[in-house]
């Protein structure tokens, strides 16, 4: 564990990616396989099932620190991280017990953390409180981090793969591929990960997704229209479906295995030949695509009822083929992969699997005109893919672009503020905005991003000086500042007081030229519910 704490501190003490890779490489080069496996597990942001209730932890911290619950909560609100709050509030013993320090990472996880559940609640409290007081601050922090879930230290999957590749001597794409999917932290898993024999692999294992970047220039500058393939940008869930060894697997972009949530797609995949991997979008579909809010009803459940399945049927709209006949096609040009995809989908002949149509135009101008119809079609815009592009790994700029339609915008008034978490924990950065309904301001959206650091600092100061009331971590503030918000979609919602819910709200700009009475009204916002609504908003 000591070595893992040192690795964490080395990663935390630098902003240089090279230094991070080097710190991980040297850890993996000498770590035991089971420790390396757990390190990968935590560094890639995976978390164990919650071992202890948050309320219990807080109560124990009250007991150990000697401060009242309200004070513990104020501290937590200021720090933004529970484990760090513990390590700062508890006075640690000067001389730690060496045995606790020497236990390996896997030993800590398997013999201490995971074994915690074998004890009755009183014993659990005793054990955890002893960790807090007996371990030095740095180790108390890591142990509590692991106990409460994940450990985020600004290491991307790409960097992690780079470090493992460097320590094992295997190519990075091989490591990345093997890191995809279910990662069971064990010595065997790590040894399979760095096994120089690359033949054997798990049937469920997905490929890393290739991610498009938002286009910032005029698409006309990309070159000849004929060298690019355009498709609609679907507003659904990106998914990779795998048919191997007579079984089907559906992976989400977040590397979650979601097969059983979409029984119709799992069934439809049975009509694909073995050794097939497709990339596409899961959409709620009835004679055409349904709004994202419908799809959301399906996403929230693990087990789907017959009723819900008939109300919200799902369709997989495919746009790429990474594997056919068991062969990795990612190095082949897109046009060739597309041909394979078309024949696979046609042969499967299942209504739940379709093709993402190609939007054919002669010129970029015609394409730009068609893009204007995106909102009526229920899509987010266009995807532009170079016809001869290979299927890359992760977000590589250059050959795949997303060309989204301009967002909806409204002018809304700041009414509540809350401190952020993580690096924004000591600043008020989470805002709630409202629009007018008669003489009242009704909350419309929460937004976290879009302001510069300078603006955040200024607004933070203003919030502190203009708080009306405090509700726990939330403060209500004077209705004074107007912000232009952008969002991607809007739907009716019974859950919100305003009756509408917006998707991906963010702050476009601080409208210091506007007074609160100039902000938009709920009626104006509801206008946007009409699919042909003008996108300029206000």
């Amino acid at each position: 564990m000591k070595r893992f704490v040192e690795l964490y501190e080395a990663l935390d003490a630098t902003t240089s990616t090279n230094a991070k890779v080097e710190a991980m490489r040297s850890y993996f080069a000498t770590a035991d396989s089971d420790d390396a496996a757990w390190a990968i597990y935590f560094l890639s942001g995976k978390r164990m099932k919650r071992l202890v209730k948050r309320a219990d932890l807080k109560e124990w911290l009250v007991e150990v620190s000697g401060y009242e619950l309200w004070m513990v909560e104020e501290c937590y609100a200021s720090v933004g991280d529970f484990a760090e709050t513990v390590s700062l509030l508890v006075r640690h013993q000067a001389a730690p017990r060496p045995e606790a320090m020497d236990l390996s990472l896997s030993g800590w996880v398997e013999q201490r953390l995971q074994a915690l559940g074998d004890n009755d609640p009183a014993k659990q409290a005793q054990i955890v409180k002893a960790w807090w007081t007996d371990l030095p601050a740095s180790m108390c922090f890591i142990a509590t981090k692991l106990l409460t879930g994940g450990l985020r230290v600004g290491v991307s999957q790409l960097l992690l793969a780079k470090a493992i590749a460097a320590s094992s001597g295997l190519p990075r794409p091989v490591i990345l591929h093997r890191l995809m999917g279910n990662f069971v932290p064990s010595a065997e898993t790590y040894e399979a990960l760095v096994d120089p024999n690359t033949a054997a692999s798990d049937a469920s294992q997905p490929y890393p997704f290739f991610l498009a970047s938002p286009i910032e220039k005029d698409p006309g500058d990309l070159g000849l229209r004929g060298e690019w393939i355009a498709e609609w940008k679907w507003d659904g869930i990106r998914a990779q479906v795998i048919r191997r060894g007579g079984r089907s697997y559906i992976w989400s972009r977040g590397e979650e295995l979601v097969t059983e949530r979409f029984p119709e797609i799992e069934a439809a995949c049975a009509s694909l030949p073995d050794g097939t991997v497709l990339d596409g979008e899961l959409l709620a579909w009835k004679d055409g695509v349904l709004p994202f809010s419908q799809l959301q009803r399906r996403l929230n459940r693990k087990k789907v009822s017959k009723k819900l399945m008939s109300e919200v049927p799902i369709r997989l709209v495919c746009y790429d083929c990474m594997e056919a006949d068991g062969l990795d096609l990612r190095d082949r040009p897109l046009v060739e992969r597309r041909q394979r995809l078309e024949s696979l989908v046609t042969d499967a002949a299942d209504a739940s699997i379709g093709l993402s149509e190609i939007v054919a135009t002669e010129t970029w101008e015609e394409l730009a005109t068609l893009r204007q119809s995106a909102r009526e079609r229920g899509v987010e815009g266009l995807m532009l893919k170079q016809a001869d592009s290979v299927y890359e790994t992760g977000r590589k700029r250059g050959s795949w672009w997303k060309w989204k339609i301009d967002p909806y915008t409204v002018d809304a008034v700041l009414i509540y503020a809350q401190a952020g978490s993580g690096r924004r924990a000591t600043l008020f950065t989470d805002y709630t905005f409202a629009v007018w309904s008669g003489k009242d301001l009704l909350p419309l959206a929460k937004a976290y991003s879009g302001l510069t650091d300078k603006e955040i600092a200024r607004l933070d100061r203003w919030i502190r000086g203009n708080t009306i009331e405090r509700f726990g971590p939330v403060r209500s503030v004077k209705a004074e500042h107007v912000f232009e918000l952008a969002f991607e979609g809007i739907n009716e919602s019974k859950r919100n007081k305003s009756g509408v819910a917006v998707r991906f709200p963010r702050i476009l700009r601080w409208r210091e030229d506007k007074r609160p009475e100039d902000a938009d009204t709920l009626e104006q916002v509801r206008e946007l519910l009409r699919p042909d609504a003008d996108t300029s908003g206000s």
Binding site: T15, M71, V79, E84, L427, A457, G465
Partner: protein
């Protein structure tokens, strides 16, 4: 009320003067030379003798300055006023006011930790204590400066091996000199200073404060393509991201502040390292000081005043928060860095 809050700042009616006013007034008693406490435009300035050079440097030589030596009682109208060391920066003072049969003390900014670069904090018994509350949360618990300076030195040495300049951001008045004082026995070559840090450091030396050897980072001997890879450079936070930084090439940067105790703050600043070093009292320092003054009534200002007030009320104190335009502790960060950024 011996001292009340007005829009100009803390006001003593019996003596007709203000303490650290934020708007121009006739008579200003100034606790110390930081920009959020010492502002320009006042007719007369009263401060400790060692604040004079610092105030003149920051506000201009023309200010009408009157020295109030520590511990010496002087009359202002119906009030008896004296200054007492606050331990914050060189010359920093608490203001004791005796009037209407009561003793009030305004702490200004203060710390209890040892600091050879300024006069040590003195406990002044009083009835009402107006205390700062910048770091009034029990998560703030300062490590010893020796440990901090050792880790600053270790970071510098590690960067030298990698051939990278080490740029340490800290406030140009107080913090920079405190670090330089603590580096005396560790630095094996002159520490390089930003142009905003050097004149204040010079004032410290003229006041007889022992500091590590220093040199200007950019002076008339500086050549194009100068190699800074072995150097430690001290600069104000406002210099970060300015063209002045380019000369150091690929460097490692660090920030020195009490805020660095929280990891989120370290990451928000985007520096490689954050060193926990503050010239304010930590939680224990605040609570201990409040107890030692014997005051039954506590007024809290700056930063986490609400939290301190609630904590004290639950322990039987009469406590209130003083709201001012400069309530936010972060204001100090920003005011300081903005001002210094403009000078680069």
């Amino acid at each position: 009320m011996v001292i009340e809050t007005r829009k100009e700042g803390l006001y003593c009616k019996a003596g007709d003067f203000y303490i650290d006013p934020v708007r121009p007034v006739a008579r200003a008693v100034v606790t110390h030379a930081h920009s959020d406490h010492a502002r320009s435009g006042n007719e007369m300035y009263y401060a400790s003798p060692r604040s004079e050079a610092l105030l003149r440097k920051r506000l201009g030589n023309q200010i009408d300055f009157y020295a109030l030596p520590f511990g010496e009682q002087v009359r202002f109208g119906d009030a008896v006023v004296s200054l007492h060391p606050a331990g914050h920066v060189l010359g920093s003072a608490q203001v004791r006011v005796q009037a209407e049969g009561e003793v009030w003390v305004v702490s200004g900014d203060y710390k209890r930790d040892a600091d050879p670069t300024c006069e040590s904090f003195e406990v002044v018994p009083c009835d009402t204590f107006i205390t700062e509350a910048t770091f009034a949360l029990p998560i703030y618990h300062w490590p010893s400066i020796d440990a901090v300076v050792e880790s600053i030195h270790a970071w510098w040495m590690a960067n030298r091996i990698r051939g990278r300049a080490s740029v340490l951001f800290c406030y140009s008045l107080g913090k920079a000199q405190r670090v330089l004082g603590a580096l005396q026995d560790l630095a094996d070559r002159p520490v390089l200073l930003h142009g905003a840090v050097a004149p204040l450091t010079q004032i410290y030396r003229e006041e007889g404060i022992q500091l590590a050897p220093t040199d200007l980072a950019v002076n008339d001997r500086t050549r194009r393509g100068q190699d800074y890879s072995q150097d430690l450079i001290i600069a104000p936070p406002g210099a970060n991201g300015t063209p002045w930084m380019r000369r150091f090439g690929k460097c490692s940067s660090a920030f020195c502040s009490g805020w660095m105790q929280v990891r989120g703050n370290r990451r928000r600043r985007g520096h490689d390292r954050g060193f926990v070093l503050s010239d304010h009292a930590d939680w224990e320092g605040l609570i201990r000081t409040i107890k030692e003054t014997g005051a039954r009534r506590i007024l809290a200002t700056h930063g986490q005043s609400d939290i301190l007030v609630r904590y004290l009320r639950e322990r039987g104190y009469e406590a209130d928060a003083i709201r001012s335009r400069f309530d936010s502790a972060r204001q100090e960060d920003d005011a300081e860095s903005k001002e210094e950024g403009a000078k680069t």
